[in-house]
């Protein structure tokens, strides 16, 4: 019994390898990202020193890259916890190698995204006033509330399913034993512990779904609660949530493909996973198009002058290239690639995902900037050209994402080992039984048994 267990855990040894073996490439990539990160920190320092004048923002374009990236990053964060919770809840067996990475994306990106409004503040030193004397009537406070709730829930939701894996690393010995002993929380894998853990995960995954939905809904409320043309729209809540899941899946796919290549997870992340997630991406692309179409059709059909100004500005103005680029990246490319089995290879999925992430960033930009650049008053149209500082903060955000993942990979397995084992030991039997229960006949016999 003991021997077979050890053998079993050796079967998944490739998943432990990144924790113990570090190549030269790792340090090189890490160094590059660290350099970018430090550079962005320095740029932020200059901004704090001399004021927001170092950015490209002005009147009337009072929000720029920071708010765009805030919405974008928080959108990406919906990859994780939400998708992993939905897959767990729907008992999708193919989720097992995916959930961990998805949850890590959420934790890291949420931290990055959540910091963006603070970067955007003119007086970051007064940030704590939000907690001290915040007005709950302001949509900004709704954001603070739901993002902190989501961050708490998703980090706990990341940590709990990691406990059995942390215990495995602890039992293997080696580096940082004290850390793993502490974090494993005395996990021995007893029946009782397993029951408690499963219960906790079940409660959390149900809880996390409404929180995740609320987060992006509330972010859309920041815009839709104002009277500005192009923002004041009831569709914004679901539109933002759908867009968030859309960009989240794309980001998850990119991360999966990169780690599959770098850490040789080919045996775990198979063609089928990319096929399934690719289908999900295709569906979300169509959903996204539906929302976008509805949003703009109602505006154009009604033809209210202020609304039309903004819409025409998006269609034909200086940002037209971004608008049509968004349609191309979010709809044309993914639908073309993912609709055909021949194109739906891993490379194809990667191209579609990169297009979607770019397209969704453009969407956030197209929502935030043109509405501000087109004030209702007869003022000259606004201009907005982001400066080096804003680009630096964007690059810094992306490199924190990469660094976060790299650090995580050095301490914890990127694929949930115990869940893979569980799949092998129980999953197959369970699925077989479940399918039997779907089929006619079985229910009758069990009823008879009860009767």
């Amino acid at each position: 019994m003991d021997k077979s267990k050890i053998l079993d855990s050796e079967r998944d040894a490739p998943l432990f390898r990144p924790i113990y073996e570090t190549g030269k490439g790792y340090y090189a990539t890490g160094g590059v990202f660290l350099a970018i990160y430090l550079w962005s920190l320095y740029m932020y320092y200059t901004q704090v020193r001399s004021g927001l004048g170092v950015t490209g923002m002005n009147q009337p374009v009072t929000w720029g890259f920071y708010i765009v990236n805030f919405v974008f990053f928080i959108g990406i964060s919906h990859a994780g916890t939400l998708i992993s919770a939905i897959l767990r809840l729907s008992k999708a067996e193919w989720r097992r190698p995916i959930t961990r990475m998805a949850e890590v994306i959420t934790a890291i990106v949420l931290a990055i995204g959540g910091l963006h409004p603070i970067i955007d503040l003119g007086r970051p030193d007064r940030m704590l006033s939000l907690l001290e004397s915040g007005r709950l009537q302001s949509p900004l406070l709704w954001d603070v509330t739901s993002i902190t709730a989501y961050f708490t829930a998703s980090t706990v939701y990341l940590y709990l399913p990691m406990i059995p894996d942390i215990a495995r690393i602890r039992d293997r010995g080696g580096k940082l034993k004290w850390l793993y002993t502490f974090m494993a929380w005395g996990w021995q894998g007893t029946e009782h512990q397993k029951r408690v853990l499963n219960r906790a995960i079940n409660i959390l995954m149900v809880m996390v779904i409404p929180i995740a939905v609320s987060v992006h809904t509330v972010i859309s409320y920041i815009f839709s609660m104002t009277l500005q043309p192009g923002w004041h729209s009831t569709i914004f809540g679901p539109y933002f949530v759908a867009g968030a899941i859309f960009s989240g899946i794309a980001a998850l796919l990119i991360v999966m493909i990169i780690f599959r290549k770098v850490f040789h997870f080919e045996d775990y992340l198979k063609q089928i996973h990319f096929q399934y997630l690719g289908t999900l991406l295709l569906i979300m692309s169509i959903v996204w198009f539906y929302f976008t179409f509805s949003e703009y059709l109602t505006g154009v059909f009604g033809g209210e002058p202020h609304e039309m100004n903004t819409i025409l500005y998006k269609f034909t103005g200086p940002f037209a290239i971004f608008f049509w680029g968004m349609v191309f990246c979010n709809f044309v490319i993914p639908v073309t690639i993912l609709s055909f089995r021949k194109l739906k290879t891993i490379t194809g999925v990667l191209i579609a995902s990169i297009a979607v992430v770019i397209g969704m960033w453009l969407e956030r930009f197209i929502i935030v900037v043109p509405s501000l650049a087109n004030p209702r008053m007869h003022l000259p149209l606004g201009i907005y050209i982001p400066t080096l500082v804003e680009w630096a903060m964007f690059a810094g955000g992306l490199s924190v994402f990469a660094l976060g993942f790299m650090v995580f990979a050095k301490f914890f397995p990127l694929i949930s080992i115990w869940e893979i084992e569980e799949g092998r030991e129980h999953g197959i039997k369970e699925v077989e039984e479940r399918i039997h229960s779907y089929l006619p006949g079985r229910e009758l016999s069990s009823l008879k048994g009860e009767g």
Binding site: G53, Q59, T62, L121, G122, L130
Partner: protein, 228 residues
Amino acid sequence: MPKWAMVFDLDKCTGCGACMAACKMENNVAIVDPEEAQAGRALFWMDMINAHEGEYPTVAIKRMPKPCFHCDNPPCTKVCPVRATYLNEDGLVAQIYHRCIGCRYCMAACPFTAKVFNWWDPRWLEGATTCFNPDVSLRMAGVVEKCSFCAHRLHHVNEVARVDDRALQDGEFMPACAENCPADAIYFGDLENKDSQVYKLSRSYRVSRVMEDLGVEPKVYYLARRTA
């Protein structure tokens, strides 16, 4: 609660911009470089809108002074996360510079683009620092500011009236722009006072408010024979 309101007679306004200059001096509004102003960072509490109407050769140019409209139902105060902007007991939309966190949400929410932001630390022309208006606090980088209807003057006249033990007279509280208008095109007063000039003007057949249909109840009225 008094309802302080401003009336611009556009039929009298020459578009000279004296109101803008008076406002800058009165309220210690910082001067920005021409390049910065070009990039949309000019600080004006009293702004001037230039709009064209019609096609050549029948072009009509409209110059329209634009302060803060001090809405009775202000969209900006609703969104402020820290109550740094609020409708005060005098019916004015006030700013608290030392509380503002600089999120600029109020600026994004204002349909009239009335608010401005201190993108840099404030700067003044040489010599100007010796003649600040001591009644108006200076603003720091990173906060939002806007027209206050010269609320500091209200404090002053209120105080005088209290000492004399009498009610405020119509015309006693005058913002700098109204006082300095060479064409006498700016009127200011309390709409609650039915004898006041602004009350009478606000019922004129020539009167209109900007985007009245938004329901934000601006307290700035424009008089013009021309429509729109």
